[in-house]
Symmetry: C2
Subunit: 193 residues, 2 copies
Amino acid sequence: MSLRSVILVALADEDRSGYEITKDFETVLGYFWSASHQQVYRELKKMDEEGLVACRVEPQGSKPDRKLYSITDRGREDLLAWLQAPPAHPPVRSPLLVKVYGGMISGPEPLEAHIDTFYRESEAALNGFKAIEEEHYPEPVEEMEDWKKLAYLTLRFGMLRRQADARWASEAREILRSIMAPDREKSPKKNKP
Amino acid sequence: MSLRSVILVALADEDRSGYEITKDFETVLGYFWSASHQQVYRELKKMDEEGLVACRVEPQGSKPDRKLYSITDRGREDLLAWLQAPPAHPPVRSPLLVKVYGGMISGPEPLEAHIDTFYRESEAALNGFKAIEEEHYPEPVEEMEDWKKLAYLTLRFGMLRRQADARWASEAREILRSIMAPDREKSPKKNKP
DNA sequence: CACGGCATGTAACAGGTTACATGATTAT
DNA sequence: ATAATCATGTAACCTGTTACATGCCGTG
C-alpha cells in the first residue's frame, strides 16, 4: 500500500496530473521511492474508483488535455493513518552481494569489475547529493523552515548510505586484491570447506 | 531473475531440499536476499521444468520424504553468465523516508517514534553483526580462506549500512527535536512555501 | 496429548516490469 | 523533417505476499 501513500503525499499540497507525479518520482520523490508512469496511471485509476482522489479534466488550449487529480477527505484520512502506522521494513535484496557471495564460482575478475563500478557509482551519487546540498540547502539546518528540514533529512539519508556504500566498496577492493594475488598456490575451488 | 540465481548459488556446492534452501534464506543468504518458502518451492518447480536443476526424491526412513535438488550443467552455465553480468540496481523504496517527507501532514510526534524505533533496530542489528563477526570471523582477514573472505564481505556490508542508518537516525532525532520545540510561534502548516 | 519442527505444497492477490500504442506540440 | 517532450493509456508477464492446507515425528 505504499505507492498509494506516496501518491497521496504528492497530492497533499497541490493538485497534479499523472504525468507530473511521474516526474516527481524522477526528482523529489526519487530520493525515497520510485514508480513508472504505468504504475502511477494504474494506481490513480484505482484510487479514483475507491474515492481517495477526485479527477477533473483540464483542457489547456494548444497542449493535450490533462487529468488533474486532487486528494479527497477520505484520501487525507487514509494518508494520515498510514503516516502514523509504524513503517514496514522492506526485505534486503542485493544482486551485487549475491554476486560477491558467488565469487568462487565466477572467479574474482568479474567481481572486481562489479565492485569497481559500484564504487564509482556510489561516489558519483554522493557528489551529486553534495551538489544539491550546496545549491538547495546552503543555510544551517536550524534556520531552515520545518518542511525543508524534513526534505533535507531525506537527502541526508541518501548521502550517508552512499558514503557507506563507497567505503564498503573500497574495503572490498582491498580484500579482492588479496584473492586475486597471483603469488599463491592454486587450490581446488570450493565454496565451503 | 535474481531469485533463480540465488537458488543456484545455494545449490552450487551441495544438493539441497526446498526446505533447506528456505532455511538458508533465514541465515547465510539472509544477509543479501530474502524469499519465503512458497517462493522457493514455486521457483524450484519452474527451474526443474526448464532443466536448470534436477530433482530426486529421498526417502529417509522415519521422517517424511524430501525432494533433493541438484544443479545441472545448464544451471551452472546460466549461473555463471548471470554472475558475470553487471548487477541490477534495485530502485529505492523506503516507507520510512516517505513518512519523514510527509512529516508536516502527520505532525512530528509519530515521526519521532518511527525514527526512534529505527535507531534502536539499526543499533541492535549492528550489534548482532558484531557478535557474528567475533564468533565466526575472529582471525584477521588476510588469513581467511578465499570463500570466507567473500562471506565476510557480505556481513561487512550489512554492518556499514546499519552503522550509517543509526548515524542518520541520531541526526534526524536532533533535527526533529528542533521542529517539535514548543518555544516557537505557531505558523500555519504548509509543506511547500 | 499438545506443541514445535520437518516437509511439502495450492490459490488468490498485490505490486512491479516490459512491451506496445497513440497523438499533439515544441525545439533544432 | 525529425527528434524530444507532453500526455495518456492497455496487456502480458514476472515477482512477492498472504492465507490456507496437510501430515509426520519427537519432546515434554
